[in-house]
């Protein structure tokens, strides 16, 4: 049984068809990649899954539940966490506070108990902190724990954003270009982490990525998109060799033939 399934999803912005009849099935426990040239609709697909956009047609279900019935702030409570292509962290807060916000879906205290900070609220805070510390350990963020986001380098921010998504203990992790703007070493770290997330934590990953090296090293299956349409699905090597993918990236070879 697939964890996330999209069937015949279409989204139009005015006359532009951003996503055209796309169907995909993400199986429990796999790393699924989305590739395609700029403007292919990869991030739009992400925004559809996290319910920032409403599809014109089609259905999206997660864990046998209809996601389209939920608002964008209810999606995380189902166990879906995401990162953004252009880092969206809370700039005027520390790394620790950012990661703690990721725990928001596990909030069990009411407004009143928080105002009086009852023993229960303190207990909950310790519990959240413990979960966050596990993420800090996993991603080696210890030196940055108390630092403000506003002063951190880009590479670290990228990791903090991954950490914030992990802190929510998701079932499905949506990574929007996890390696964009990272150095070679940082990309390698990211590859190891994604592997660990899949194998140790048992979290299913759906990611958009341009770096084909990273895609072929971590992804089990890949879906190639172009102009909002599905080109092909398969293993990374199959997809890379597929003629329509080569065409989408490099153009047609039609000129010499005519």
């Amino acid at each position: 049984m697939s964890l996330l399934s999209l069937s015949d999803v279409t989204l139009r912005f005015g006359g532009v068809v951003a996503v055209n009849n796309v169907s995909l099935e993400v199986q429990q426990g796999e790393v699924f990649g989305l590739v395609g040239p700029n403007g292919a609709g990869k991030s739009t697909l992400f925004n559809l899954i996290s319910r920032f956009y409403d599809p014109a047609e089609g259905s999206i279900s997660f864990n046998n539940q209809n996601l389209l019935k939920l608002g964008s702030d209810q999606v995380p409570s189902q166990g879906i966490a995401r990162t953004f292509q252009n880092i969206e962290l809370f700039e005027h807060a520390t790394v620790l506070q950012n990661l703690l916000v990721g725990r928001h879906r596990h909030r069990k205290t009411s407004m009143l108990s928080e105002i009086f900070f009852t023993p229960k609220a303190r207990r909950e805070e310790r519990r959240h902190r413990e979960a966050v510390e596990r993420v800090i350990d996993f991603l080696d963020l210890q030196p940055y724990r108390e630092k403000m986001i506003a002063g951190l380098p880009y590479g670290v921010r990228k990791v903090v954003e991954l950490g914030r998504a992990l802190a929510s203990e998701p079932k499905l992790l949506l990574l929007d270009e996890p390696a964009s703007g990272l150095s070679v070493e940082e990309t390698q770290d990211m590859a190891y982490w994604i592997e660990d997330i899949q194998k140790q934590m048992g979290i299913t990953v759906l990611m958009v990525e341009h770096d084909m090296g990273l895609v072929s090293s971590v992804c089990n299956r890949v879906l190639a998109l172009n102009d909002g349409k599905e080109l092909t699905t398969g293993t990374p090597t199959e997809v890379q060799a597929h003629p329509s993918v080569v065409e989408a990236y490099l153009g047609t070879s039609g000129i010499s033939k005519t």
């Binding site: 991030s43 925004n47 996290s50 920032f52 956009y53 608002g71 964008s72 702030d73 209810q74 999606v75 995380p76 409570s77 966490a81 995401r82 953004f84 292509q85 252009n86 880092i87 969206e88 962290l89 809370f90 700039e91 005027h92 807060a93 620790l96 506070q97 703690l100 916000v101 990721g102 725990r103 928001h104 879906r105 909030r107 205290t109 407004m111 928080e114 105002i115 009086f116 900070f117 609220a121 303190r122 909950e124 805070e125 310790r126 959240h128 902190r129 413990e130 510390e133 506003a150 002063g151 880009y154 914030r164 929510s168």
Partner: protein, 368 residues
């Protein structure tokens, strides 16, 4: 430089980071408790009254700070909630409720009405939200006139004395007790404020302030968060308004005007947006300047024989100070204090750019 050796998660949850910090705050508290003694020996409680009203404004500024400084929603209409709290307090008192019940009820009423007003207004962002709340502030006086049977309209309303279990408190007859009352209320609100900031609710407020889109992606309900911030903020402003009524003794439709709303906003900007301390620093600045101008004026007159009577001098001075702060110290007085403290803590390793605001990375793919 101090290194705090943390041995449990509680070190980051507690109110005070370390014992020395706790010591300074308790010292400050002791000082605040002792201030009336000084004025008692002086037998001139005029300045004590000034300190009391600074604290009342600091409470109102804390209300606005929660909304503007921590949730990022600018409001130019907080005098409206002060008016609501003030009038509701008097109405409850006149209906025969004891003060201990009427006072919190007045705050809660201001909070609920504030939330009702806020719900449609909260769909607006930034400047538009500021304009809508400004309109609300302008309408306040008219509404007070329209609701004459309850508010006394233009002729005004006398605020009854506070009575707690038979203990009568009046600002003029008993300034010391009134001071302590305001101090206790301020302290309780500070404690609640600190608790909110260290709990998930406070974090969701700052999350909404810094990035609405990723707050949503973390499961934070924007409408719920914004309206609970508005509720808490209006409640606090309402409590401050009720205290202000007791301090003024008599309120009319002109008491809570637009200028008061704008003053509150200026207070938190000058004091430092996003810090509880900022509310107090701002209120102190706005309390000191009129006194300083009056003193300077009489000094010039008595020692040099110069008569200074420039109309609008105060407002002009405030404007200059505000512009100077926005240009040179956007973090406000508390931000300046943080920089000075960091300089000495890290001496001689302080770098000039340590607090420089970074330009955030391009946000081209914003979904909104």
């Amino acid at each position: 430089m101090r290194f705090v050796f943390k041995t449990s998660y509680d070190a980051d949850i507690n109110w005070f980071k370390h014992k020395t910090q706790a010591f300074w705050y308790f010292l400050l508290f002791g000082l605040m408790m002792a201030i009336p003694l000084y004025f008692h020996f002086l037998s001139d409680p005029y300045l004590l009254g000034e300190i009391t009203s600074v604290m009342i404004f600091a409470i109102a500024a804390m209300g606005l700070m929660l909304l503007t400084g921590h949730t990022g929603l600018p409001s130019l209409g907080h005098a409206t909630f002060m008016a609501l709290g003030c009038y509701m307090n008097v109405i409850y008192l006149n209906a025969g409720l004891p003060w201990l019940l009427a006072f919190p009820l007045a705050g809660l009423t201001a909070g609920f009405v504030g939330t009702l007003i806020a719900l449609p207004v909260l769909r607006l962002h930034g400047v538009y939200l500021a304009l809508a709340t400004l309109a609300m502030s302008i309408l306040t006086g008219d509404f007070i006139v329209l609701l004459e049977p309850w508010t006394g309209g233009i002729s005004g309303l006398a605020v009854p004395d506070i009575s707690i279990f038979g203990l009568e408190i009046n600002k003029y007859a008993n300034p010391y007790l009134f001071y302590y009352l305001v101090l206790v209320v301020a302290l309780l609100i500070i404690m609640a404020y600190r608790n909110i900031l260290r709990a998930p609710m406070g974090r969701s407020f700052t999350a909404v302030r810094d990035s609405e889109i990723s707050a949503q992606a973390m499961g934070i309900n924007l409408t719920m968060t914004k309206s609970s911030s508005f509720f808490l903020s209006a409640t606090t402003a309402g409590l401050a308004g009720a205290l202000f009524g007791h301090s003024a003794g008599y309120v009319t439709n002109e008491t809570f005007d637009v200028v008061m709303s704008i003053t509150l906003l200026m207070m938190i900007v000058i004091g430092g947006l996003g810090f509880i301390h900022g509310a107090f620093f701002g209120a102190i600045v706005f309390g000191i300047i009129p006194v300083a101008i009056a003193n300077g004026r009489s000094l010039l007159q008595t020692s040099f024989g110069i008569n200074v009577h420039i109309p609008g001098l105060e407002n002009g001075l405030f404007a200059v100070i505000l512009i100077a702060f926005i240009l040179f110290e956007p973090m406000g007085l508390y931000g300046r204090w943080l920089k000075v403290r960091t300089y000495f803590e890290l001496f001689p390793f302080y770098r000039k750019d340590m607090f420089r605001r970074q330009k955030s990375y391009l946000k081209t793919e914003r979904v909104q």
